[in-house]
Every structure is written in C-alpha cells, then in structure tokens.
C-alpha cells in the first residue's frame, strides 16, 4: 500500500466532506488540502458552503459524511486546540458589554494561554489603544480586527479564517493582505474564504472554488489563468444575437451588461461571426489577457450571478 506521507499530515484536509441540513447538500463530497506555509483562498458565492465547511473543520458542525481534519485529526481530538488552530468565524464572538481586553482575556484563560498574549495580539491588529473599550461600540472593521486577534492569541500554525476582510475598508483590506502574507511566511497554513476571488487573488497561493457545496476548482492562480487563452471583449448593437451566433460557432460567452466576454475565439473570428450574424455595428472589439474573474466565471458559470444580484437587491432595497 502506498501511503502519501504529505497527505497524511496536511495541516488542513477535507476528505469527501458532506453536510446535509435539509434539502440539497450544503457541502457535497468536498475534498481538498492546505499545505504548510501557504495561503489557500476558499472562494464561492454566498451560500456555496464555505462557512459550513469551515465550521466542520472547527468541530462546530458535525459532518453528515466524510472527514474534516486539522493536523490529521478531528478538531475535537486536538490537545489545547487554541494553540494549534486560530479561527475567525462570524465576528469576534464577544459580549457587547465586555471590553476588547476582557474578551481576549477570557479566551486566553479558557485556552490556557499566557495573558501577556492579549496585549501582543491587540498591538498586532492595531487595536492597542482601544483595548479598554466595550466591544458593543466597535465599528465593523474593529470587530474584524478583534476577531483576528482572537485567532492569533494561541500563536497557532493553522489559521481558518471565514471572510476576515468582510466590512474592512480598503486600507484595512491592504493591511489584512500584508498580515496574511507575513503569517504564511512564518510557515503557517492559512485557509481564508471570500465571496470575491479578486480580494484573495493577490495573496492566495492556491484557490479552492466551490459552488453549491461542490468542488469546482482546486488550483494555483497561474493554473487558473493559463487554462484559458486571451479573451475578447465585444460591444455591439445586438448582443443577444451576437452571443447566440458565437456560441453556435463554438466560443463560450459571458455576458456582463451589454459587454460580451468571449473566450475560445480570436478578435478576428469574433468580428467575422458578428458580421455574418448581422448583430452589428460593432462598438468595441478588443483582445485582452484573461483576468482572474474570467477564469472564475468560466469555471463556476452561475457563481458570479447570485452575488451580483445580491448587491443589486441590496441597493434596490436601501
């Protein structure tokens, strides 16, 4: 029997992981691993199963089938888990009446961690001057920083971070990227989720993309980008007719408003197809390098749509 030692000791591993709450599976036969010293982006639309997967890795949700392992074991079997795994799930988990220092002090006490770590991690997330303030008065960005501080308390070499950049302002997101890079450079294995691939593109060594609980892609960013050639952007009078003709001609087409993003055909071929189909006049016809979003959309077709609809709905509602 061949035993893959590397696979045996992966800091984070999901094996045929499945969770069914009610109705269709929230997570469906999902397998992937995260290596030490790397950042793995965990990407999917809202409701794709990212949070459920991470909660299974953390022993908070029981898998229906398969395994969710940290350092080769279920989370429940880890000795002093706070020293081994740091997690951000759904905010800091602090009572609004507690101060930041009290909140972290409670976590440190329960996790048998030295209390001096509280000051250290508060400084690391740049919340030192707010240590004595009640969490109830914190902004969303401060709450996310406090959540990260909690994850770092035990100086763990595995980090499982669910949407840690949610609610951060642009400087906060840049700060977060720098922090993740430093943490990975120290040899930690990091699994970080986002519903925006672009948010992780700059830091992730690998990307695991899921859609409706199923694995869609598990690849490096280079692999994702090299899988498809350059794309052609087309804007013309009758985009519906153009799209139909291009698909019939064997190209694949993503529609973004009145802009068509065509892959699998050169600019010249696209121009000829549109002309033959009578979908002109053409307003824009340009070849460009594949962007990370193109690869994402090509892999997970429907994925982009729900998030955009959500944004539009939110705007319409407000």
């Amino acid at each position: 029997m061949v035993v893959n030692m590397c696979s045996q000791t992966a800091p984070i591993a999901c094996r045929s992981l499945t969770k069914v709450f009610a109705g269709p599976a929230a997570v469906d036969d999902l397998s992937f691993e995260v290596a030490p010293g790397t950042i793995t982006g965990f990407v999917g639309a809202n409701g794709a199963g990212k949070t459920t997967t991470m909660r299974m890795l953390l022993g908070l949700v029981t898998p229906t089938a398969g395994e969710a392992l940290v350092k080769g074991r279920p989370y429940r079997d880890l000795h002093e888990p706070r020293r081994q795994v740091g997690a951000v799930v759904d905010g800091p988990g602090a009572h609004p009446g507690h101060t930041a220092r009290t909140h972290l002090g409670i976590i440190a006490t329960a996790g048998r961690l030295p209390l001096r770590r509280v000051g250290e991690v508060l400084a690391a997330v740049e919340l030192g001057e707010h240590a004595g303030r009640r969490v109830g008065g914190f902004s969303t960005g401060m709450r996310q920083r406090l959540a990260l501080a909690g994850a770092l308390l035990g100086d763990p070499d595995v980090l499982i971070l669910d949407e840690p950049a949610n609610g951060l302002d642009p400087p906060g997101i840049i700060w977060m990227r720098g922090l993740l890079r430093r943490l990975a450079a120290e040899g930690r294995a990091i699994l970080v989720s986002s519903h925006l691939l672009a948010e992780l593109a700059e830091v992730a060594d690998r990307v695991v993309i899921i859609d409706r609980g199923r694995l869609v892609a598990d690849a490096t960013l280079d692999e994702l980008l090299s899988g498809s050639g350059p794309v052609v952007e087309l804007r013309c009078a009758d985009p519906a007719a153009a799209a139909g003709a291009l698909v019939a001609a064997g190209a694949s087409v993503e529609r973004d408003g009145d802009l068509l993003v065509v892959s699998g055909a050169s600019a010249r071929e696209v121009g000829e197809v549109v002309s033959r189909a009578g979908a002109g006049p053409v307003h824009r016809l340009a070849e460009r390098a594949t962007r990370i979003e193109d690869a994402y959309l090509a892999l997970a077709g429907s994925l982009g749509t729900p998030s955009r609809a959500t944004v539009a709905d939110a705007r319409g509602a407000s």
């Binding site: 908070l60 888990p81 988990g93 609004p96 009446g97 507690h98 101060t99 409670i106 329960a110």
Partner: protein, 246 residues
C-alpha cells in the same frame, strides 16, 4: 477544568447584567421580607415560627432573577457568538456546560447570601423598631435563610439547564418566567394537592414559606433537585448533539 472555570467566572463577573440582576435580587428579597411584616395586623405574634418564616422566606422572593442570570449566561452565548469561541477553546461541549453549572451555582450562592443578609438586616431593624430582637438562633430564622440560599443555588443551575436546552435567550426567558410566575401559581391555586409537586411550588417548600398545602421541605428539595438534574442532562445532550451555526 480549572482554566475553564476561571474563564467562565471571569466572563460572568465582567457582564454588567449579572450585577444588575444581583441588585434586583437583593432589592426584591428585602421587599419580600418587609411586605409580610407590614401586612401583619397588630394582634399577630411576630415571634411565632409562622411569622418568622413568613418574613424570612421573602429573602428568596427575587430568586427567579437567578434563573434569569443562568439563562443569560448560557443562551446569551448563542446570541453574540460567544458559544463558538467557548467551543473553539474547549471542543468537549459538555465540559463547558459543566463549568457554567458550577459557575452559576456559585453565582446563585452569592445572590442568595447577599439577599439573605439584606433580608435579615431589614427584619432585624423592623423587629428592633417594635422593641423585639430577631431570634437568629431559632431554626425558623436560620433554616428559612438556609432554604432560601439552597433555592438560589438550585435556580442558578436551573437557569443554566434551561439556557442549554433552548439556546435562545428570548425564548428561554419568556418561557421560564411565564411558567414560574404565571402558569404554576394558577395551577397550584386551582388544585393545590396535585400541583404542589411542581418545581416552582416545591421551591416554596424548600424556602419554608408558611402554607398548609405545600409538600414537606425534604420532598420539595427532592423535586427541585431532580428537576434541575433532568433538565441539565437534557441540556448537555442537546448542546453536544446540535451544530453550532451562530
């Protein structure tokens, strides 16, 4: 376990609500002690066992707030995501509930001692104003105060158990307050011989409220202990079984 206990204790004392509830329990305990004394007509023998118990059992009049504290201590964790943080440190969830049980038994004891001391001081003052000395040495006084303390401790654990079963603060608070304040008294008034075995009514026996329909003290204590134990086991089973999604 000691680290977990220290964390839970720290959590409890850092929560402002716990202190407001302590204040409330003491205030209601004082009122509960004074009310029967004010209501007593001039012919009443204040030194009788019945009068002494009637006054002193009021020390536990606010014990229902200990239930509230226990519920907030457990179900409140699911409200603010603290439960997730607790289980990340201690994935053996039963141990977390056990630590909370001990913590809120102690919180109940602190509430009970504070309310008992305030009630005793108030009664002492009232008796003195009537040229009487409150006989602390008589069992009608100290056994009643001890019963009030026992109710307070058991109610703290009851709150933990209810909070663990419901894991929704509002549902747990509304259901348990409605049951103890409204449903049980109505049932007891309708058929005392049957419904004197209910846990809330049984707590009146344990705190030695004078009353002919109540079960004996020992039986009352047994009913309360069994109720709390069964609820606690149910709470641990549910907390261990269910997914933590908040």
């Amino acid at each position: 376990m000691s680290a977990l206990l220290r964390a839970e204790w720290r959590k409890a004392v850092a929560t402002p609500t716990i202190w407001w509830l302590l204040l409330g329990t003491v205030a209601i305990g004082v009122l509960g002690t004074v009310a029967p004394l004010i209501a007593a007509d001039s012919g009443t023998d204040l030194m009788s066992d019945r009068s002494l118990q009637g006054a002193m059992h009021g020390a536990a009049a606010g014990a229902i707030l200990v239930v509230v504290a226990g519920i907030i201590g457990v179900a409140g964790e699911w409200r603010f995501g603290q439960a997730t943080q607790s289980f990340l440190a201690t994935p053996q969830r039963g141990r977390v509930v056990a630590a909370k049980t001990l913590t809120f038994a102690v919180v109940g004891a602190v509430y009970g001692v504070a309310a008992g001391a305030a009630a005793a001081a108030t009664a002492w003052g009232w008796y003195r104003a009537n040229d009487l000395a409150l006989p602390f040495g008589r069992s009608a006084v100290w056994l009643t105060l001890a019963g009030c303390l026992a109710v307070s401790v058991l109610f703290g654990v009851l709150g933990v158990a209810i909070g663990a079963i419901a894991r929704n603060q509002t549902v747990a608070l509304v259901a348990s307050l409605a049951w103890l304040v409204v449903v049980e008294p109505i049932l007891f008034a309708a058929a005392p011989r049957v419904f004197r075995w209910l846990p809330g009514v049984a707590s009146f026996s344990l705190r030695r409220q004078p009353g002919d329909d109540l079960v004996p003290v020992g039986a009352g204590a047994a009913v309360l202990v069994v109720t709390v134990a069964v609820a606690l086991v149910a709470g641990v089973v549910l907390v261990e079984r269910d997914d933590v999604t908040a």
